[in-house]
Symmetry: C2
Subunit: 167 residues, 2 copies
């Protein structure tokens, strides 16, 4: 009787190591980093990550449409719309009609929003510095480049067409 043998047949043969799997490591790193930011910075300001990103995008350009802001912050229009509504409610953002297009809006920060934005840049620098401390100069450079390549490549794999790996 080899019943037991069938069930237990060398369970280690397909030695796949989750901890060496790039997507897993990416996910772990991303979660750890997000957690630091959420706890040490967002929590105090009462901002969510999408709100924080929107403030960064609007603050950088001064006046910008929701669509353009979303493109810069990696958010779709629904997320932008909700983050904007929330920020308006807290008096950090102003939404005006675009005089040149009746459908469009123009976003700009209020004085309160600008104050938060002014804080945001040095805070982000501090975060980045704190995180980057653990890396050598080469690692920092390569990491940035590798992440950019990975994002682009994954994005390409995602296209409905080129989607197939084994083509």
């Amino acid at each position: 009787m080899k019943k037991k043998a069938e069930v237990g047949e060398d369970p280690l043969n397909g030695t796949f190591r989750l901890e060496n799997f790039l997507p897993y490591r990416l996910s772990v790193a991303e979660e750890a980093v997000s957690r630091v930011i959420a706890r040490d910075h967002l929590a105090q300001s009462g901002l969510t990550m999408p709100e924080w990103r929107l403030i960064a995008a609007v603050g950088r350009f001064g006046v910008i449409s929701p669509t353009a802001a979303g493109a810069h912050a990696g958010m779709d229009k629904v997320k932008v719309s909700r983050a904007a509504a929330s920020l308006v409610g807290r008096g950090l953002l102003r939404q005006a009609h675009d005089p040149s297009d009746g459908r469009g809006r123009l976003l700009r920060l209020t004085r309160k929003g600008l104050a938060i934005h002014a804080d945001l840049a040095p805070t982000a620098d501090a975060i980045e510095t704190a995180l980057m401390e653990s890396l050598t100069k080469t690692e920092r450079t390569v990491l940035h480049k590798a992440l950019a390549k990975l994002s682009a490549h994954a994005g390409m794999l995602l296209r409905p067409n080129g989607a197939d790996v084994h083509e």
Copy 2:
């Protein structure tokens, strides 16, 4: 009257570039990669990411406790418990009582679960290969190392104690 000047005072001065901010780039890369996996692999098997990870952990060790599996898959006990319940419901996982500790459980894959696990390793290799294609050998090596360092460093920053950046 300098009202206008106050509101609009050089909005570009704190030139913080979200797209160069490491946590943002990490998040973008992670999302893109997750999306590829979810769409091209998980969707077809009907597995969620936690379920996939749990199968990987159990499949690798053959027999393992939920706690130990969670430690290997980066999941807390609640997530493990839910993923396990779901996998048991689909006939992919078996939960037995730990004879040496009445509180503990022992997880092992069913034959069906083993079949999925057997598929999982080559699939993961294909994903990894497809993603890594875009990187040079050096970039791959450095990326792995940098992610490990970053995770560890962020984890350290998260400790209730050492939490302070400016100590």
